[in-house]
């Protein structure tokens, strides 16, 4: 039996966060991520931490800003409309070079949209969202186990690079139960030190200042350039992806998150019919795993980006393939989930002319 437990994605994320040292959660309820906050409400205090339901998403993200400045492992979670509200705070946190975790269990948009699964916040997560030259580390798990594993990785990488990380899931992943095995609780003393945190000088060091306001353009530019150097290093070293049956594939499907699983089922079915199809599943959406596309543009004939949006990640696929091969798109949106049979039909449409 092992140490596996059966849990919803939302709950597994919360449990994993506490196990890797998150002791502060600030949020505001919204479907379909509410189980995450509810689990935190039940367990955080027992773990010696603080759970606080703020008066709004904006208040919650600013509490995250404060706790992070004081050196805590801290997170917030929401769903699309709530994440939009948090954008000002996210930009400030990025501008102040602070680590934290932001969870977006994406629902259909724009506006209030709906509550069913979607991936239409890809642009918002990977291309900014808030103002200014900044990025988030964006992780896109496709199973409950991966959700738990990436939660702890996201916290570690956020600390390492002093920047906010985001986990992008969808209602399907948040609501579904799968067996999951957790790591042991980390001892908070074992977490990396944060010498930049505003924890009090004890009259022994220069004071630390957390700030994102720089009125001297030379100074602000220098900070942005330095930050960009970090981003460049991340793009070089931190991209994660999974490649399945791509070596001999004529057509490569690109999909992330839970939709990648449906795409995988379609790929298996296509393979059983003798069609040479593979799958690239980006696990980090920023940094986007561009190198694997450069490589596969040499060996395959075309790419098909499958998304629960009107076509967002497809732009990054095109940039990475850089005109060497055609890049097609298939998507459903508004909370509709592409069916395996529909993806298979798309595969057949393109592969028959190859």
């Amino acid at each position: 039996m092992g140490n596996k437990v059966l849990m919803k994605g939302n709950e597994a994320l919360a449990e994993a966060a506490m196990r890797c040292g998150c002791r502060f959660f600030f949020g505001y309820p919204i479907t379909p991520q509410t189980e995450l906050a509810a689990y935190m409400a039940k367990k955080m205090q027992k773990n010696g931490g603080t759970f606080l339901q703020a008066e709004s998403e904006i208040a919650a993200i600013n509490m995250v800003y404060g706790a992070s400045g004081a050196g805590a492992r801290v997170m917030t979670s929401s769903s699309s409309p709530g994440i939009s509200l948090k954008q000002e705070g996210i930009s400030y946190i990025a501008g102040a070079d602070l680590p934290c975790l932001i969870v977006n269990i994406v629902r259909g948009g724009p506006g209030l949209g709906g509550i069913q699964p979607a991936q239409s916040d890809y642009f918002q997560a990977t291309k900014g969202g808030g103002h200014g030259d900044y990025h988030l580390l964006v992780f896109a798990p496709s199973s409950v186990q991966e959700l738990a594993d990436l939660t702890s990785l996201a916290f570690d990488k956020a600390d390492e690079y002093r920047m906010p990380a985001m986990i992008m899931g969808d209602g399907m992943l948040g609501q579904m139960m799968e067996p999951v095995e957790f790591k042991e609780y980390v001892d908070l003393k074992d977490l990396p030190e944060k010498p930049w945190a505003t924890t009090g000088t004890q009259m022994k060091r220069k004071k630390n200042i957390i700030n994102s306001l720089y009125l001297t353009p030379e100074e602000l530019e220098e900070l942005c350039v330095k930050r960009q150097e970090r981003y460049n290093k991340i793009m070089e070293t931190e991209a994660l992806y999974e490649e399945i049956q791509t070596e001999d594939a004529d057509l490569i499907i690109v999909a992330y998150g839970t939709l990648a699983r449906i795409a995988m089922s379609a790929v298996s079915e296509a393979r059983s019919q003798g069609l040479k199809v593979g799958l690239i599943r980006p696990i980090t959406l920023w940094p986007f795993p561009a190198k694997v596309f450069e490589k596969r543009a040499e060996t395959s004939k075309a790419f098909l980006s499958v998304e629960m949006s009107m076509g967002q990640m497809v732009e990054d696929v095109k940039l990475s393939v850089n005109g060497k091969r055609p890049v097609y798109f298939y998507g459903r949106t508004g909370g509709m989930v592409p069916q395996q049979s529909a993806i298979l039909a798309e595969i057949k449409k393109y592969i028959k002319n190859m």
Partner: protein, 178 residues
């Protein structure tokens, strides 16, 4: 093994719980599994369902379009899913709540008055467990009833063990019903 099932009925009948019970069984016998509820705005007393996949291999899509098995506890759900069941598939139907017959001859249908049986055992709330027992019976030998008893006991907190015993009593009643 690759068993895809949809369990459907009214909210409050324990539809999600049967799914969870069978998901635990899958986990305890070392299989891969996924459990996905329908969620969304629903009318009080409206329909409710969950999709459970138990598989030897890694599970791709957690969404089921054509189930191998439909466990169904009300008429609207039967109407919604009856045509989706794979040819050669199984339908376990609570005949004390659904008065119609399945108009298909390419599926196995098991009619069981689950709610009535549960009432006779003094707990009308546990028709869902009767359905679970009837399902295992129909799916032997890929599942074993003893594994289910063990699994039910393993996932109930010790303080609530009498509930496990009640559940097992009703699972047994469903399993033994002809």
């Amino acid at each position: 093994m690759f068993e895809q099932m949809i369990i459907a009925g009214f909210g409050g009948q324990g539809v999600l719980f049967v799914g969870k019970t069978l998901a635990y069984l899958g986990m305890d016998i070392g299989k891969n599994l996924s459990w996905l509820p329908s969620y969304g705005p629903e009318m009080r007393g409206g329909t409710c369902n969950c999709s459970v996949i138990i598989s030897d291999d890694k599970i791709g899509s957690p969404i089921i379009t054509n189930p191998d098995t439909l466990i169904v506890m009300n008429k609207p759900s039967l109407e919604k899913f009856v045509d989706a069941v794979k040819s050669g598939g199984l339908i376990v139907l609570d005949s004390s709540l659904i008065d119609s017959k399945v108009q298909r001859d390419d599926v196995t249908v098991k009619y069981i008055p689950a709610m009535e049986i549960a009432e006779n055992h003094g707990n009308s709330q546990l028709g869902n467990m009767v359905m679970a027992g009837a399902y295992i019976k129909a799916r032997e030998p890929i599942f074993s009833i003893d594994d289910l008893y063990e699994s039910v006991k393993a996932h109930i907190p010790p303080a609530k063990m009498q509930l496990a015993e009640k559940n097992i009593e009703l699972i047994k009643a469903g399993y033994e019903y002809n």
